[in-house]
Amino acid sequence: MNTLMLTIPPLIPLVLACFAHRLQSRWWLFGAALPALYLGLMGEPDSAISLPWLMLGMHFSLDTTAQQFLVFGSMIWMLAALHIPADDLMTGAAGYRKQSFLLAMAGNLLLIIAADMLTFYVGFALMGLSAYGLLWGASQRARQAARVYLVFTLIGELALFSALLLLMVNSDSLLFEELHAKPLPEAALLLLLLGFGIKVAIPGLHFWLPRAYTLAPLFGVVVLSGPMMKAGLLGWLRFLPFGTPVDPLWGELLLFLGVVGVILGMLIGAVQRESRSVLAYSSISKMGLFSALIGFSLNHPGMVAGILPVIVLLALHHLMVKPMLFVGLDLWQKGSSTYLILPALILLSLSLVAFPLTGGGAAKNLLSTALNGNLVWLMLLAGIAAAVLTVRFLWLLKRSKRPVESGSVSLLGWLVLLPVAVWAPFAWDGMSVEAKALLPLILAVVLMLIGRLLWQRFVAIPLPTDFRIIRLVPRFSQIDKDRFRVNNGVQQIWLPLKQILSHRLTEPGGQPIASLRDSAIWWLMLMLALLLALILSL
C-alpha cells in the first residue's frame, strides 16, 4: 500500500470543506469519513510517512491505536452526517455547519494518525476551533454556550502550545517516538494535563460541557461526545510518559480529579431534568473514570502494558455508545419507531453500565483483570455512578416524547451501528484488534447506503420539478414527503408494518406505548432474556 494513502483521510474532508458551500447532499459529508474507515480496517499496520516540506515537517503513522480510533471515529462521523438537518445543508444556510463539520472531521482524523506532536496539535486545534460552528445556534443561550466552549478551547490550546514548546526543546524532536528519551519537564506535564483536561472535561475544566451538550444541534453533540472528546484522551495516551517513573504527584492529582469527576458527574447528573443534561454529566463522570485510570497508570509504570490497551478499548466503547445514546434520544423524542428505539436505547444503556454480555461488561472484565485487584473501589464507584445516571436517563426518557415524524435514513444508520456500539469490544481477540472482523458488516452498510443514495436520485429525477430542490424540499413539506416515502423502497416495506404495530400498541385509550409501565416491562423482559443467555452460555 502506498504510504501516501495515510494522508487521505484528513485530506478529503479538508478539500471538501473548501467546496462545502456547493455541497447540498449529506452524502458528501458522509462519504468524507469513508477513507478513514477504509484505512482503519484495511490499512497496513505500522505504516508511516513523513512529509518534511509540510509545515515544519509532518509525520503520519498508523499504529494499532490509530487504527482503532479511525474505525470507530469514522463511524460516528458518518452517523453524525446522517443527522445534519436539511436546513443546514442548503446554500446560504446560517452557521456554516457543513464547513465546520468537515473541518472538525479533518482535524480529528489528522490527530489520530499524527506521529509527531505538531501534527497532533494542528489537528487538535483545527478540530477544537471548527467545533464552534457545530455548537453555534441561533438562540442566545446556544451562542453563549458556543462562546464558553471557544474560550475554554483556546485556553486549552495555548496550554498545549506551551507544553509543546517545552517538549520540543526538551527532546529536540517532534516525533512521539523520541519524546520520552529524556524525562519530561514538570511544567510540560502540568500544561498537558490542563490542555487535554479541558477537552476531557476533568472537574474544574468542565464548565463548557453541560451547556454545549444540551444546546448544540444533535450532530454536533454526537461528534463532540464521541470522537472529539476522546481526542483529549488520545492526547494523553500519546504525550504522557507511561512506563517511565515520574513525580507521583501528577498521577495522584489526576486520580483525585478523576474520582471527583466521577462523583460530581453522578451527583449533579442525577438531579437534571433534561435527558441530554443527564447524558452530559454521565460523560463527565465517565471521563472522570478515564482520568483516574490514566493517573493510576502514570504512577504504576509496571502495569502500563496491561492497562493501556484496556483503557483504549473502554474509550472506544464509550466513543460509540454515548453518541448512539444521543441519537437514540433524539429519535425517541421525535417519536419515530418507538418499538425499535426503546429496546435499543435500553441495550445501549446497559452497555454503558457494563452489564454482562454487553461490550461494556466485557471491557470492564478486562479492566478488572488488568488492574489486578487495584482500584476495586473506583470500579465500584464508577459502576454506581453509571447506573444512577442511566436510571435517571431512562426515567426522563419517556417524559420527553413528542409525536413528530422523522426521516428514516438516520434511523436506519443508527440501527446498523447499534450492534457495533454495544458489542464491539467482543471483537477483540485476546486484547489485539481484529477490526477486520467487522469489515463485512460495515461494507454491507456502506453498500446499502450507497444504494440508497442511487435509489434516491433515480427516483427523484422523473419528478416534474428540479430535482435538486426536490431533494431538499421534502423535508419541509408534508405532501412531498409522503409522496417521496411511497416511492421509497425501504419505506414500502416498513410503512404498513409500522402502521399495524403502532395501531395495535397505542390502541388502549390512545396511550402512547412508552408509558413507564411498558418500558419497565420491556426492560425486565430484556433483562430476563439476557440473564437466560448468560446462564446458557455458562
Binding site: 446560517a94 502550545f161 506551551s162 517545552l166
Partner: protein, 500 residues
C-alpha cells in the same frame, strides 16, 4: 562582475524612475500611469528574483559610492536584505494593483503614485543598505516619502495624522542619526557584517556603547512603534487603505523593526549585545508593547484603529525575537517580519474593501458582512486567525519559533506567558469581528452601498489582492519547511548570524 554592481542600483531605480515619471503625468492619463506602475513592479520583481538566486548561491552584490570622506553609500545584498527586499517587492506589486482599483476617480493620483513609488524605493533602499550611514539616509527618505501619502486626503484629520507622524519620525530619525554618528566616530565606519563588528573593538567603553544602543533603538523604535513611541501609528490610519496597508505591513513599521534587527545582529552582534546586557531591556520593552498594543486594540471600535494597535503589538514580536539570544528566537523574529507583513496587509486590504464597498468603518457595523462580501471576509478571517497564531496560517510558525527560542534561551518564564497572553488577546479582539461578520445577520442597512453594478462583490483589483495575500499567508505557513520559503531564509540568516 558589472551585474553584481548594478543589480542593487537597478532594484532601486526600478521603482524610482517610474515614480519620478509619474509625478509629471497629467491627472487624466491613468492608463499610462498604471502601465508605468506595473512595469516598475514587475521589473523589480524580476531583478529581485535574480538577487535571491544569487544570494542563495553566495554571490556578492555590492555598490559603493563615496558621498563624503568616511561616508560611503553602500548597497549590499545579504540574506537578511533579500528577505526584506522580496517581501517589499512582492507586496508592492499587490498593493499597487489594489491602489489602482482603490483610488479610481479620485484626485491627485499622479502625486499619490509618485510618492508611493518613492516610498517603496526608500524601503528597498533600507533593505539593501550596506552600512549604518546608508541606512540612516533611507530611513529619513522613508519619512519624507510617507508623509505626503498619509496627508493625501488633505482633510484636517489627515493633516493632523500626518503632522503627528512627522513629529515622531523626525525625532526618531534625529536620535538614530546622533547614535549613528557617535558610533561612526568611535569605529570609523559601521558596515553591516553578519555577526556584528563591535566585539572586535575591545577598547571601547561599554557604557558608551550602551548609550549608543539606546539612541539607536529609540530612534528605530519610533518607526517600529515600540511603546511609548507608538503614538503616531493609530493616528496615521487616516491614510487611504493602500497606504495603511503598505505602512503597516512593509514600509514604515517594518523599517523600524528591520533596523533593530540590523543593529543588533549586524552592528553589535547578538552575543555582544547580550554581553552588554541591553537585550533584556529591549525584550522587556517588546513584551510590554505586545501586551499594551493588544489591550488597546480591544477597546477600539474603529476597524482600522484596532488593526493599527494590533500592528503595534505584532511588530514587537520581531523585536522580541531579536532580543532573545539564540538562533531559534532569531528565526522566529525574522520570519515574523515576512509573516506579519503578509497577514497585516491582508487585513488592511479587507478593511479598505469594507469601507470602499459598503462604507463600513466600524466593527459594530460589520454584522453579517461575511455573506455580502465572502471573498474579502474569508481573506480577513485567514489574516486574523494567522495573527492569533492558529495553525497552519503563517503566524503560527513565527509564534512557534519565538516560543522555542524563549525556552531554549531559558527565558520561557516570561516570554511564553507573554506569547500566550498576546494570543488570547488577539483572539479576544479578532474573533468577535469574525463572529459578527460570519454568524450575525445584518441588523441595519449598510452605511453606504457602492457596489451597484459589480459582477462580484467588488471590482477585481480590489478583490484579488486580499485574496492573494491571504492565500500566501496560508501557503507560507503550510509549506514553511519547503525550500525558498521565508522560514528557510530565516534559518539561513540565523545560521550566518550565529556563524554556525
Amino acid at each position: 562582475m558589472t551585474m553584481s554592481v548594478w543589480l542593487p542600483v537597478g532594484i532601486l531605480l526600478s521603482s524610482f524612475i517610474p515614480g519620478v515619471l509619474i509625478f509629471f503625468q497629467p491627472e487624466e492619463r491613468h492608463r499610462l500611469r498604471t502601465w508605468l506602475n506595473l512595469l516598475g513592479a514587475l521589473v523589480k520583481l524580476l531583478l529581485v528574483g535574480v538577487l535571491i538566486w544569487g544570494v542563495f548561491h553566495e554571490q556578492v552584490f555590492e555598490t559603493r559610492w563615496t558621498m563624503a570622506p568616511g561616508l560611503e553609500f553602500v548597497l549590499h545584498a545579504d540574506a537578511l536584505s533579500v528577505l526584506f527586499v522580496s517581501l517589499s517587492t512582492l507586496l508592492w506589486l499587490v498593493t499597487t494593483i489594489y491602489a489602482i482599483g482603490y483610488l479610481e476617480r479620485t484626485p491627485h493620483r499622479s502625486r499619490f503614485f509618485g510618492f508611493f513609488s518613492l516610498c517603496v524605493t526608500a524601503t528597498v533602499g533600507l533593505a539593501l543598505a550596506g552600512n549604518l550611514f546608508t541606512f540612516v539616509v533611507f530611513y529619513e527618505l522613508l519619512t519624507l516619502a510617507t508623509y505626503p501619502l498619509i496627508a493625501h486626503k488633505g482633510s484636517p484629520e489627515a493633516l493632523r495624522g500626518a503632522r503627528i507622524y512627522l513629529r515622531y519620525t523626525l525625532f526618531g530619525g534625529l536620535l538614530l542619526m546622533i547614535g549613528a554618528v557617535w558610533l561612526h566616530t568611535l569605529t570609523g565606519g559601521v558596515e553591516f557584517v553578519e555577526g556584528g563588528i563591535l566585539d572586535q573593538y575591545t577598547n571601547l567603553d561599554q557604557s558608551t556603547l550602551r548609550w549608543i544602543f539606546l539612541l539607536l533603538i529609540v530612534g528605530l523604535g519610533v518607526k517600529a512603534a515600540l511603546v511609548p513611541l507608538h503614538g503616531w501609528l493609530p493616528q496615521a490610519m487616516v491614510a487611504p487603505a493602500p497606504v495603511s496597508a503598505l505602512l503597516h505591513a512593509v514600509a514604515v513599521v517594518k523599517a523600524g523593526a528591520f533596523g533593530i534587527v540590523r543593529v543588533i545582529y549586524d552592528v553589535y552582534g547578538v552575543e555582544f549585545a547580550a554581553e552588554l546586557g541591553v537585550l533584556t531591556l529591549l525584550g522587556a520593552v517588546a513584551s510590554i508593547t505586545i501586551i499594551y498594543g493588544s489591550l488597546k486594540a480591544l477597546s477600539q471600535d474603529h476597524l482600522k484603529k484596532r488593526l493599527a494597535y494590533s500592528t503595534v503589538s505584532q511588530v514587537s514580536y520581531i523585536v522580541l525575537g531579536t532580543a532573545i539570544l539564540g538562533p531559534l528566537a532569531t528565526i522566529g523574529g525574522l520570519v515574523h517580519l515576512v509573516h506579519q507583513g503578509v497577514m497585516k496587509i491582508t487585513l488592511f486590504f479587507a478593511a479598505g474593501n469594507y469601507a470602499e464597498a459598503l462604507g463600513i468603518h466600524r466593527i459594530s457595523e460589520m454584522d453579517g458582512v461575511g455573506r455580502r462580501m465572502p471573498g474579502t471576509t474569508l481573506a480577513f478571517s485567514i489574516g486574523a486567525l494567522g495573527m492569533i497564531g492558529i495553525p497552519p496560517v503563517a503566524g503560527f510558525i513565527s509564534k512557534w519559533y519565538l516560543g522555542l527560542g524563549a525556552v531554549e534561551a531559558g527565558a520561557a518564564a516570561w516570554v511564553v506567558p507573554v506569547l500566550i497572553a498576546s494570543s488570547l488577546l488577539n483572539a479576544a479582539y479578532f474573533l468577535p469581528i469574525l463572529y459578527r461578520a460570519w454568524f450575525k445577520s445584518p441588523s441595519r442597512p449598510w452605511p453606504a452601498d457602492r457596489t451597484a453594478g459589480c459582477a462580484r462583490e467588488l471590482p477585481d483589483p480590489l478583490l484579488w489582492p486580499p485574496v492573494t495575500t491571504a492565500a500566501l499567508a496560508l501557503l507560507i505557513g503550510l509549506f514553511a519547511a519547503a525550500p525558498y520559503s521565508p522560514l528557510e531564509w530565516a534559518e539561513l540568516i540565523a545560521g550566518r548570524e550565529y556563524r554556525q
